[in-house]
């Protein structure tokens, strides 16, 4: 039982962590919590199944196509739902606009794809039992994403520009950084990360339009637990959430495990409102 809890807990935790990173990547350059993050994860599974099972595209081209399609969805989200409300962030209009786009994505998928879960193919045929690829693939995808982002942010000019925008938008613009283009690029990157979450977790979650809201909720928790904008916090929060959720599933059952998860979530936020790894925000006086 312990092996099952750890295997499935790490797998779903890695998926939640990747969705958390998707939230953070979009937030970093726009200060907008885009509720399309979960839908991007859902689309990763749907596009993966579409390209590989229905259209017969081989694995690597299918993965690249999936990432590209979701990156495009990310860019469209920025244009349609984020850019128009950036001037009134304090009114939280983005809650409405990004939720509207999320609903649009979900309903379009339901109509054009299927309202029933569709199969997602095995990708490598490596492993069985608790070492089955459906358990280790999301973890591997999470590790690759973290390493890639660390490289991007620390070693590349574009990555440093992202960080600059995230740190101080006005100062970055004053230095001549193309803020709008960088924001669009970050939404494309977020789309690709969300897609990778859905693609790697396809065998666990299946290609199912209803996965969007699930990933939206459970992907948000690591962000809140780990601290908004903190990717490392999101990863640790996601993994802990996955393990706790699966342990609760085994010990108290499905419905009660959700109650347990949200109870813990509320307790952590009461104890540390800025998240476990977030810094206390400075307040202008």
């Amino acid at each position: 039982m312990l092996a099952s809890i750890i295997a499935s807990g790490l797998a779903v935790g890695a998926i939640y962590a990747l969705i958390g990173i998707t939230y953070n990547t979009m937030f970093a350059t726009s200060r907008v919590m885009s509720f399309t993050a979960g839908q991007l994860g859902m689309l990763g599974g749907v596009f993966g199944s579409l390209f590989m099972l229905r259209l017969g595209v081989p694995l690597l081209p299918a993965l690249l196509l999936t990432l590209a399609c979701c990156a495009l969805v990310g860019v469209l989200t920025e244009i349609v739902a984020v850019r128009p409300v950036l001037n009134s962030l304090e009114q939280h209009l983005y809650v409405l606009t990004t939720l509207a786009v999320a609903l649009l994505i979900q309903h379009t998928t339901a109509m054009e794809w299927s309202t029933e879960p569709q199969p997602f193919p095995r990708l490598t045929n490596i492993g069985s039992g608790v070492l089955d690829e459906k358990y280790w693939l999301p973890v591997a995808a999470c590790v690759v994403t973290i390493l890639g982002l660390e490289y991007l942010y620390r070693r590349t000019l574009v990555g440093r520009a992202f960080v600059a925008i995230a740190e101080d938008n006005f100062a970055a613009r004053a230095l001549g950084l193309p803020e709008r283009n960088l924001r669009m690029a970050s939404y494309a990157l977020a789309g690709a990360i969300g897609a990778l979450a859905g693609f790697a977790g396809g065998q666990l979650l299946l290609a199912f339009f209803a996965n969007g809201p699930l990933l939206n909720f459970y992907g948000f928790i690591p962000v809140a637990l780990g601290g908004l904008g903190n990717n490392r916090g999101a990863v640790i929060g996601g993994i802990l959430l996955g393990l706790f959720q699966q342990a609760a599933n085994f010990l108290v059952g499905g419905i009660f495990s959700s109650v347990a998860v949200f109870t813990l979530f509320i307790i952590v936020l009461l104890a540390a409102p800025q998240g476990m790894f977030g810094a206390q925000a400075a307040r202008r006086v």
């Binding site: 569709q118 977790g201 979650l205 059952g253 499905g254 419905i255 959700s258």
Partner: protein, 394 residues
């Protein structure tokens, strides 16, 4: 020509008398209008697509034979898209503008719950195949008749199969977290306990839960001899079947018709994961050990051949819809009237009407017309031309 008040009054009176005298003659030539509330598009449209094939086939067959007392059958279809609001609008249109003589449908309980009271207020004769028990109440809804089993009858069939055919006295009852899943699982647990069985495990599982190992492990540790499923969620069911195979556990699955959905076949990891799975089916649409359908159904399939595609639908959907249209036609034929009271009165007097899908009996106090003994279990993985093989034990 000068129009005087006297001429106008005489002319008006003449027209009114003429119109009233000609009404019976007109009514005799008017088509029999059957409203058909069909969720032909949108989520869960598969049943209505199948029902629709039966509706069109029955109407064409009746019209080709000269109609009913010379009156054609006219099917007036409205696509409700599975949306209760659209079903309400379509129902009101059918009652007040289209003036249909009877309504067939809706074919899912959510829509039916929304429109049943509206039809009752208009005293509109209504036949539907929805399973929720509360949809049928001859006192509150004297116009509504069920042509398929109720949820209680499904429950009885599943329980009887578990306890009498496969001798499972310890069962695990699992539903999803929808309203239907919760209420059906609770009713099932109560039924098993009343019948003296032991419900060793009960759970409601979120349809999107990715790993079913926890619940399956608990069911096995509790000593379950059968898993009873109340869910329409094919993803959840397929995950449970895959988990059962991973656990090397050969416990039978018994329950909701969704267990036999074609979607399951595409979601299971190996075809053998679908063995020992028994879904609710109907004797009229089940093949026996020799692979034969009952003679009357075989005759229907012969007639449908080349006209109605049965490859991608279920035979009972088609047969049930044919019966619904025929029951309206039969009522008009027997009473010579399309008046609401005449049709409802005829249905109330129906005794063992031999339809293709079932043998129906209604009375003024019982509008559940489908016999429980015709509800059987099917081997879920044996679909062929919309029909299934009977589960072992019959």
């Amino acid at each position: 020509m000068k129009i005087t008040r006297r001429a106008l009054a005489l002319g008006g009176t003449g027209l009114a008398v003429g119109a009233s005298l000609s009404r019976p003659a007109l009514a005799q030539n008017e088509p029999i209008r059957i409203g058909w509330l069909a969720a032909l598009t949108g989520p869960s449209s598969a049943p209505a697509v199948g029902f629709n094939r039966g509706v069109l086939f029955a109407a064409e067959a009746l019209n080709a034979a000269g109609g009913v007392k010379g009156r054609r059958i006219e099917i007036i279809t409205r696509d409700t898209q599975g949306d209760p609001t659209k079903a309400v609008n379509a129902t009101q249109e059918m009652i007040s503008q289209l003036r249909v003589n009877a309504i067939w449908g809706p074919t899912n309980s959510g829509e039916s719950l929304a429109v049943t009271a509206i039809m009752a207020r208009a005293k509109m004769p209504n036949i539907h195949p929805c399973v929720v028990d509360t949809l049928i109440d001859p006192r509150r809804y004297p116009n509504a008749f069920r042509i398929s089993p109720s949820n209680t009858q499904w429950d009885d069939a599943v329980r009887n199969y578990c306890m009498q055919r496969i001798n499972a006295k310890k069962v695990a009852v699992i539903g999803d977290t929808t309203g239907y899943g919760v209420s059906a699982a609770n009713a099932s647990v109560a039924g098993f306990q009343r019948a003296g069985a032991e419900v060793v495990y009960k759970a409601n599982i979120d349809a999107t839960q990715p790993d079913m190992t926890p619940d399956m492990l608990r069911a096995r540790n509790a000593g379950a001899e059968a898993i009873v499923i109340w869910s329409v969620t094919t993803g959840m069911i397929a995950r449970m079947l895959n988990t059962r195979a991973t656990m090397n556990w050969d416990v039978p699955f018994v329950g909701h018709p969704s267990l036999s959905s074609g979607e399951i076949g595409s979601l299971i990891e190996r075809p053998q994961n679908w063995e020992k799975v028994y879904a609710i089916g109907y004797r009229s649409c089940s093949r026996d050990a020799a692979g034969n359908l009952p003679p009357r159904t075989a005759e229907l399939v012969q007639r449908l051949s080349g006209k109605v595609n049965l490859q991608d639908t279920l035979l009972w959907w088609v047969a049930c819809a044919i019966d619904a249209v025929n029951l309206v036609a039969r009522a008009v034929d027997a009473t010579g009237s399309t008046a609401n009271e005449a049709i409802i009165g005829n249905w109330n007097a129906t005794r063992e009407y031999p339809g293709f899908y079932g043998t129906y009996t209604w009375s003024p106090t019982e509008h559940n017309g489908y016999p429980t003994d015709e509800v059987v279990m099917s081997a879920a993985n044996t679909a062929r031309d919309g029909a299934f093989a009977l589960a072992p034990g019959y």
